[in-house]
């Protein structure tokens, strides 16, 4: 057992933290998240130059040979700065699919490009009626010669407005909720028949509703084996869960620290509100929940390589912990800040929003409690 970061990992953390502290201040963030584009593409270029995008990718494909721990470090720092850039869909999810399931040709084509910041991906998996069941799919992909023909609709595809390609889950056989018969494709967003409707999200990201109408996808763009995509999807989603958990701990840390600091200066009835025992204990509980979140994020990160059931249990445990902690920490940060915490101008509310939406992402607390119980 070893819980220490390598020197490289610590350097990585410091370099991400420094870049964000210097270049990704809240006031700047407020501007570009409200701009037409919703982000400042320059950051992505800088991330690539700093090696962040390649950190968790394999060396044989231009990566730096890191893995889940590196992604966790990056995501935690991103969480602290409310980073909207699509690291999660592009590197963690897109990179994950390609690493674990991509053919040699696909790996060759994509991984270096991702690491160099030359492609942005989005993950089109959820459907309007499917809720959190990854197998509840009505989008179909029918084999036709050397291609698959895609038809269907995907909901709330986060980062899609910025993406050039989409990772799409579709049904190649079986009934709507069958575990078998699912396949994964990488699809050019510019392909004929792909239509998107873009919009901002309440946590200042961008997303799209995506429709596929007889979209022709080369069979070579299949990731993993046909009809047997679900185990791969579950693996990558569990990795994504570990990554958003790290992001959430970063966000929570800011809220805990900000709230504690605020309570030391804000006075009511002549004393700093941090002197009121009820608020002290409330902040202790925020801190305790944050610490439990850090612990469980460590657990899931270190268990991602274990066999599927063990990995899935760890991921669900982490998602539940983060969901509950994020809600509590977010709500109480606003409560203790009072009116000012309700305003758009202060960062607190934005962390609260992001934590709220993280609970929804990849299945909320209830979903993962059920999944955990079913695996126990």
């Amino acid at each position: 057992m070893d819980f220490s970061y390598t020197e490289e990992q610590t350097l990585l953390r410091n370099s991400v933290a420094k870049y964000l502290a210097d270049n990704y201040k809240f006031e700047t963030w407020r501007k570009f998240t409200r701009s037409e584009a919703g982000r400042d593409p320059n950051h992505w270029k800088q991330f690539a130059e700093l090696g962040l995008l390649a950190a968790a990718l394999p060396e044989e494909h231009g990566g730096l040979g890191g893995g889940v721990v590196e992604s966790s470090v990056i995501m935690e720092e991103f969480g602290r700065a409310l980073v909207v850039e699509p690291y999660l869909p592009t590197v963690v999810i897109g990179g994950g699919f390609l690493k674990h399931g991509g053919s040699d040709a696909l790996k060759e084509e994509w991984l270096a490009k991702i690491g160099a910041g030359e492609s942005i991906l989005a993950f089109a998996f959820a459907e309007p009626k499917g809720r959190y069941n990854l197998a509840d799919l009505t989008t179909t992909a029918k084999k036709q010669g050397g291609s698959y023909i895609l038809n269907g609709q995907k909901a709330v595809v986060i980062g899609a407005p910025w993406a050039d390609h989409l990772i799409v889950t579709a049904r190649t056989s079986g009934g709507q909720r069958d575990k078998n018969g699912i396949s994964v494709f990488i699809v050019d967003k510019k392909a004929k028949g792909v239509a998107t409707r873009d919009y901002p999200t309440v946590d200042s990201l961008r997303a799209s509703e995506v429709t596929f109408e007889n979209v022709e996808v080369p069979a070579a763009n299949l990731i993993g084996t046909a009809d047997n995509g679900l185990p791969l999807i579950e693996q990558v989603v569990d990795e994504a869960i570990a990554a958003v958990c790290a992001e959430a701990t970063g966000a929570m840390k800011v809220l805990v620290d900000t709230t504690v600091e605020y309570s030391k200066t804000r006075k009511q009835f002549g004393v700093p509100i941090g002197k009121f025992q009820v608020l002290q204990h409330r902040m202790v509980d925020m801190f305790v929940q944050y610490e439990q979140s850090v612990s469980i994020t460590l657990m899931v990160t270190l268990k991602l390589a274990e066999e599927a059931a063990e990995r899935a249990k760890a991921a669900s445990a982490a998602k539940v912990t983060i969901g509950k902690a994020g809600r509590f920490v977010g709500q109480q940060a606003v409560q203790i800040h009072g009116g000012i915490g309700m305003t758009d101008e202060l960062n607190v509310g934005h962390y609260f929003k992001r934590l709220t939406l993280i609970d929804t992402l990849f299945g909320n607390t209830d979903h993962h409690l059920k999944r955990y119980a079913a695996l126990s």
Partner: protein, 395 residues
């Protein structure tokens, strides 16, 4: 002891229902109770004016000033029916906040001047209580009013002023004597929003809405005739208003309707192909919420019964504020849970409330964020607990 209504009360209920049915045909489209941040001033006033014409706009006023003269049960029935029919609410600032102060502590001239215009909706009032830095410690306010002949010269700033952008009048707590104990140097003023020196600056809150404002006073001249009661005695009137404010705050009838809407949403949403409302976990949470709401309803009924026996609502009414807002917040939380991924889209930011997901999902995440205010405003729920600890438990 029983729960039945008398034939007269049932007849009254029918009258309310008939009135509502008629009103529905007359109101602008889409003006229900559900929050809509983009409502215009006219939208807000449409229901008020219908009620005014019927003589029903002021259930809490004495009959002599234009109140309805309803007993407690009639008020309960009226609230139940309007909430169940999803009718809008009237704005409380004039009707339920400043008017009782005026008819209790104001002079005849003030009553004659302001009450009819509040009733008719001619004057839109807003509340000048909170200040930056004052928070729950209301009495620490710093807006100064200095007497100069027949006027006070007011300087300072109010904040969290709801819908001040529409207001004709503001009632303000101002400091007239800074050299005495906090509570003893406060005066209650009625100020015309058109007076030179008043500036209103919007505050945008978490759901992106312009609901509250900062109001700045820069050498604003307010006639002494606009003072309610005595100089430096404003804290008495302010507290009276706060207790009034709290008694209506449980919002049971509205919450019942909101739970109903939540159940409709959870009936439309699916989990593995079946309605979400049939999911044991979700159903349990809704049941838990409904049960807490039932307990709160009977707590409110007990309070009303006490009132009907002529006893004023005591500090126990803080329970209504605490539980009422907790329940309102849980409803919005569960609604966000119910809509799943469709909590993400921020249609408001696109301009015109275009829906991405199902209609019922529109704005629900924003509503959840917005409702966090309820445990902060009107005396935070922590303050309410302090009140109970001190005034009820004697701690």
């Amino acid at each position: 002891m029983d729960l039945t209504f008398s034939p007269e009360e049932e007849a009254f209920r029918q009258e309310v229902r008939a009135f509502i049915a008629d009103a529905k045909t007359k109101l602008p489209k889409g003006i229900g109770a559900a929050e809509s941040a983009d409502r215009s001033k006219e939208d807000y006033l449409a229901w008020h004016k219908l009620l005014y014409r019927k003589g029903w706009v002021a259930p809490l006023w004495p009959k002599q000033y234009g109140g309805t003269g309803w007993n407690v049960t009639q008020r309960y029935i009226f609230n139940e029916e309007t909430a169940a029919a999803d009718m809008p609410t009237t704005l409380p600032f004039g009707l339920n906040m400043v008017a009782p102060v005026i008819f209790t502590y104001g002079n005849e001239e003030q009553k004659k001047k302001y009450l009819p215009r509040i009733l008719s909706g001619e004057d839109w009032w807003c509340q000048g209580y909170s200040e930056p830095g004052s928070g729950s410690d209301l009495a620490s306010l710093r807006t100064r009013a200095v007497r100069e002949g027949d006027h006070y010269i007011v300087n300072g700033q109010k904040t969290w002023t709801t819908l001040a952008q529409f207001a004709d009048m503001i009632f303000c707590l101002v400091r007239t004597d800074p050299n005495v104990k906090q509570q003893e140097g406060i005066t209650f003023l009625l100020i015309d929003m058109k007076t030179p020196g008043i500036t209103v600056k919007p505050i945008i809150v978490l759901d992106g809405a312009h609901e509250v404002n900062e109001v700045f006073f820069d050498n604003v001249k307010v006639p002494v005739a606009n003072r309610v009661g005595d100089e430096n005695k404003g804290w008495t009137y302010a507290k009276f208003l706060l207790v009034n404010e709290r008694s209506g705050i449980a919002g049971v009838a509205r919450s019942k309707k909101a739970v109903e809407r939540l159940k409709e949403i959870a009936g439309a949403e699916t989990l593995d192909g079946s309605p979400l409302i049939g999911d044991e976990d979700f159903a349990r949470k809704v049941a838990d919420l409904e049960i807490d709401l039932a307990a709160l309803e009977f707590t409110e009924l007990r309070t009303l019964a006490q009132e009907a026996r002529g006893q004023m609502a005591g500090p126990e009414s803080s329970i209504l504020k605490i539980r009422g807002t907790e329940i309102q917040q849980r409803i919005t939380e569960l609604t966000v849970e119910a809509i799943g991924y469709f909590a993400y889209p921020n249609e408001r930011a696109l301009g015109h409330n275009d829906n991405v997901g199902p209609d019922y999902a529109l704005g629900q995440a924003g509503h959840y964020f917005n409702m966090r205010k309820t445990s902060i405003y009107g005396g935070s729920n922590e303050i309410q607990r302090n009140i109970i600890a001190k005034a009820v438990l004697g701690l």
